[in-house]
Amino acid sequence: MTIRVKLFAAMRDLTGDEVVEVEVPDGATVGELRRALGAQIPLARSLLVRSGVAVNHDLVENDHALSAGDEVAVIPPVSGG
């Protein structure tokens, strides 16, 4: 399935895109998505390791299983305030 992943801040600047499409097997986990994303955008790997992944607006662990249609985003360490 194709997962559309939203990117923000330095992560977006590294790729030049607000959204990247990543191909993963049906039912893939967030951990698998991370590996696919790192393979697709090698420059993003070091920030990706320090970033969270949000599914439908909540941070999830790497064993979380994805569904087609999930809203997925990479969340670099935040710096609001």
Binding site: R50, I75, V78
Partner: protein, 149 residues
Amino acid sequence: MFRLTRDPIDFHALTDSVRDPHCGAVVLFLGTVRDLTGEQVTVFLDYEAYGPMAEKKLAEIEADVRRRWPVGEVAMVHRLGRLDVGDVSVAVAVSTPHRGEAFEAVRFAIDTLKELVPIWKKENAPDGTGEWVHQSAPASRERQRPENS
């Protein structure tokens, strides 16, 4: 009440909005853009948010504050876009019956906002370079260099 906005934050209206005749205490916190972050001179900041998730997290913080303290009103606003030195980036106001509760509730709200809400700032230096601030943990962030507030 919580809000993300690209307009200047009307923190006077925010303060008034939490006042309540049952509450003897109001505490307001303002985070403002400093001219220096550590050794680095800042000329302006850019703030961006992952809007829907930021609003969900702000709603969760508001619910948490109301659960933990006998709050009359709680109001949180974060500004996005370009901010200059002296501008208010975030404002939190709370009213409670007694003052200890108001201090604790506002401190909790701003600390949790800074930890959990997906908002990022880019520091723009006088030489034209800009850098997204992405320290990896609150603890190491404090050690490595001071925050803006």
